[in-house]
Amino acid sequence: MGLFADKYPDVSYEEKLRLWDEVKADARFPDYLYGCYECGICVSACPSARFYDFSPRKIAQAAAREDIELIYEQMNDDVWNCSQCFSCNRCPRQNSPGGVITVLREVAVNNGLKSAAQALEGYSRIVYKIMGTGTQVSPDMLQPDAFPDWGPQVKQVSDELDLWRRALPPETLHTTKASWQVDERTLIELYLIWYNTGVMDMIANVDEGLNLILSDVMEEMLEEAGYEI
């Protein structure tokens, strides 16, 4: 039992404890969290904290105190406001709140938390693009529906996308469909990594449809290349 009112009383303490134990069992965790002074240096360095009701300090505090209920609350909410820039690593105790968040997110995804699926819903297109083509966000993804949080200027950019792209000097970046071309061998290696490291299972946990579409694309190419999935 923690110090505060439990925001998720319908989820049992044992389940919350199980998830926390999974976080602590992560090999990276001991290097991400020592103890917290509650000094706030991480918050002052955090870009997300300027725009959201989000505090990397509270993540470190809850984890250092092992406040099971509060950690569960954060795992369902706060952790998705982090941009994973690791500016918070300037901690005098050498904590990495961003690293703790990485682990909390992974545990949330691996355990199929509904909140994780909801938080990642808007990223389906991006995940599909990255994993399907091996490239980063491409210019044609800069659409108001995909990035509502970028504000009204997204519409301005997307309306004149070809024009903006032509304004960039390098020839190769005149495409709006991809950031760059990834060769087949690289793509096959990426697919194999994603299959073998459990990334496909993580995708399945948060978005079954996306997993099916990606599997179609990837398995076909892998089979052609002679790999059994």
Binding site: M1, G2, L3, F4, G35, E38, Q61, A64
Partner: protein, 353 residues
């Protein structure tokens, strides 16, 4: 008539260290202690471990007692009080009376060191907010020390505590109570005790409710960091407002200020981190020797940093917590300074005359 010996009042760490050092340089000492045994608060209040190294308090203090008791140059008077003093530096005439015996014996001394120490703040003195005299599971730091010395840290009904709360700054840093000063050691002592509780009872959660954590110098990485990182003691910035009995447990109310949320949770044992006040002996002896006291009735020194052991009366020095809240580090340093100043005074005034 001039005298070559130093009178030390108080047989705690400060008095013991000053006596040992004076004997080391060949200066005779009369050591007067009101209690029946030497050792001061660590022995009388049965402290468990000393900070810095977590070594057993009793054996460490007894080493000091042993060195003084074995010295032919130290005349130890137990169960005795200083009731009267006259004369001046170089030739004090001090009346020492045995407990319960009106007739005193006059001791001559060239210089005097007051090492009469502190007493713990009485948490029922002015306010009963925390229910110290109402609820048996509300205890003080020194109660907790005694329990841990006996290796038994249980609720009054014999149950193992699930949750223990330490409340810092009880009787310190409080304008309403009148003790505006920080008692300096309680943050470290509470953290040390929380570690000792967690070592004995790994399933018991310990919370420390604080205003500021003041962990000087090496206490930081010797106590504070291990308490958090190794023993998972939980530090909450915010002071508990009240303790209420609820069934077999104690409900505490406060605010977790850094989380910005109210706290109202059950605890099994509440430890009050009571601060330091001048002991009865310090207050009485200040009057006997006519030395100035500060507004809190500790003995006043000319300058806390640069002249920390002199008093308003030439030839009368002070060491340890008689001069204000001190940790043992301060106390040992002051004892050394007081010893050498007393010896120097005797050389200057008595030997040279």
């Amino acid at each position: 008539m001039a005298a070559e010996s130093v009178l030390i009042v108080g047989g705690g760490p400060a008095g013991l260290e000053a006596a040992r050092l004076l004997a080391d340089i060949g200066t005779p000492v009369t050591l007067v202690e009101k209690r029946a045994e030497l050792g001061g608060m660590p022995i009388a209040e049965r402290y468990a471990a000393l900070t810095h190294g977590f070594r057993d308090a009793e054996s460490m203090i007894n080493n000091m007692v042993g060195a003084v008791s074995a010295s032919p140059l130290v005349d130890v008077r137990l169960g005795a009080s200083v009731v009267e003093a006259e004369g001046e530096a170089g030739a004090f005439r001090v009346t020492v009376a045995k407990e319960g015996n009106g007739a005193g014996e006059v001791v001559e001394a060239g210089a005097v060191i007051l090492a009469t120490g502190f007493q713990h703040f009485d948490p029922g003195r002015e306010t009963q907010t925390y229910g110290y005299y109402e609820y048996p599971d509300v205890i003080t730091l020194s109660d907790a020390e005694g329990m841990l010395k006996d290796d038994v840290f249980l609720k009054a009904n014999g149950d193992k505590p699930e949750r223990v709360a330490f409340i810092q700054c009880v009787g310190s840093r409080d304008r309403q109570i009148g003790n505006e000063y920080c008692s300096k050691v309680c943050c470290g002592i509470s953290s040390k005790l929380a570690i000792e509780v967690r070592e004995r009872l790994p399933d018991t959660k310990c919370f420390i409710f604080y205003i500021d954590m003041r962990m000087y110098g090496f206490w930081e990485n010797e106590i504070y960091w291990p308490a958090q990182e190794k023993h998972h003691v939980q530090y909450v910035k915010g002071i508990v407002t009240e303790v209420i009995k609820k069934g077999e447990r104690l409900l505490i109310r406060g605010e977790d200020t850094t989380m910005g949320r109210p706290v109202e949770v059950p605890m099994d044992i509440v430890v009050l981190a009571v601060g330091m006040e001048p002991s009865r002996g310090t207050r009485d002896l200040a009057k006997v020797f006519g030395v100035k006291q500060n507004q809190y009735r500790f003995i006043e020194v000319p300058h806390d940093a640069l002249d920390p052991v002199a008093t308003s009366v030439p030839g009368v020095f002070v060491a340890g917590a008689a001069a204000g809240p001190k940790d043992l580090d301060d106390t040992m340093g002051m004892a050394g300074a007081a010893a050498i100043k007393a010896a120097a005074w005797i050389r200057k005034v008595v030997t040279a005359a």
